[in-house]
Symmetry: C2
């Protein structure tokens, strides 16, 4: 099983200071749709701010049990994956309660660090028989604080394109990451 | 060379009717960042509406020559890729004038159709010696009108995840598509 978490604290701003970022509406839509496309079991929106948690619950409610869900059932199927959590520890606890598993935690970063795991290698681990469950952590703003990277079981390599530019939106990064890990391969090609 | 175009007309709404969609601010940010990451030469925002064209030019101006460019040079590098065009024909003309080439045009769709090209095969075509230049067309709203698919040189396969759900945002679809075509492969893996 695969789980996605979008972290709003502790993350960095462009000056490298620790902040709590605000939840972005578009993140909830785009990432839940990508999570559903690639078979993630749940998408955790992680913020310690009670008002922000409430905002997420209201928005998700509109699309899952409100008018939005009736008008747009495809969006409902995506938004149903969203859970709200105050921190990463609680996210792991909720996963163990709802899905009866203890996932291996991989953090993501745009920085090059020692001992990073490639997406290819993680794909192979996930596909192996008796494969492990994985929780992927993605940072908002200018990325995850180093303490999150230190506490994770592993850190994935930055998503590389063709040059030195590495400023994808987190919506793009989640979409590309899930495609690298879970996309359908046609064995005939 | 690779070029990306985001089409706002003719596209479909969820009822299958032909519409002109409104330009979405987040599309410009996310897709220009992905285009820069994967080495696209330019990102064409295609809309016939003069007011919408002006809106895009103003926004791009803010981030490239205005205050935004000074405060956030990374965003400037992305936004500099944006061009505004009224239609696909004019896009091809502008590419030929600015980049001295005539790209092969591939349209994208979430629908399964006959004779679609896989992303893997297009990657191989792009990587081949003396490789061709490619213009990728992505539709906003509920996707490109069939007349765009018919007029393109080819249509790419839908982006498949792990099941039947195929409702990615266009921001996610562009990001994943570019990663499939242009991402760095470590030959040692």
């Amino acid at each position: 099983m695969i789980f996605v978490a979008l972290i709003h604290y502790p993350v960095l701003n462009r000056q490298g200071e620790t902040i709590t970022s605000a939840v972005t509406n578009m993140d909830l839509h785009d990432i839940s749709r990508a999570a559903r496309t690639y078979g993630a079991e749940a998408f955790y929106v992680v913020t310690p701010l009670a008002e922000q948690q409430e905002l997420v619950r209201e928005l998700v409610g509109h699309w899952t049990s409100g008018v939005g869900g009736t008008l747009n059932p495809d969006r409902k199927r995506a938004m149903e994956l969203i859970r709200v959590c105050p921190d990463i520890q609680e996210t792991v606890t909720e996963i163990s309660l709802e899905f009866q598993c203890r996932p291996v935690i991989y953090a993501t970063t745009a920085r090059v660090l020692p001992d990073q795991l490639s997406w290819e290698k993680l794909r192979k681990k996930i596909e192996a028989p008796g494969s492990m469950d994985v929780l992927l952590l993605f940072g908002t703003a200018s990325g995850l604080h180093s303490q999150v990277l230190d506490q994770a079981d592993g850190v994935l390599e930055p998503i590389r394109g063709t040059g030195d530019y590495n400023h994808l939106s987190v919506r793009s990064a989640v979409s590309i990451g899930l495609d690298r890990l879970k996309r359908y391969f046609d064995p005939s090609i």
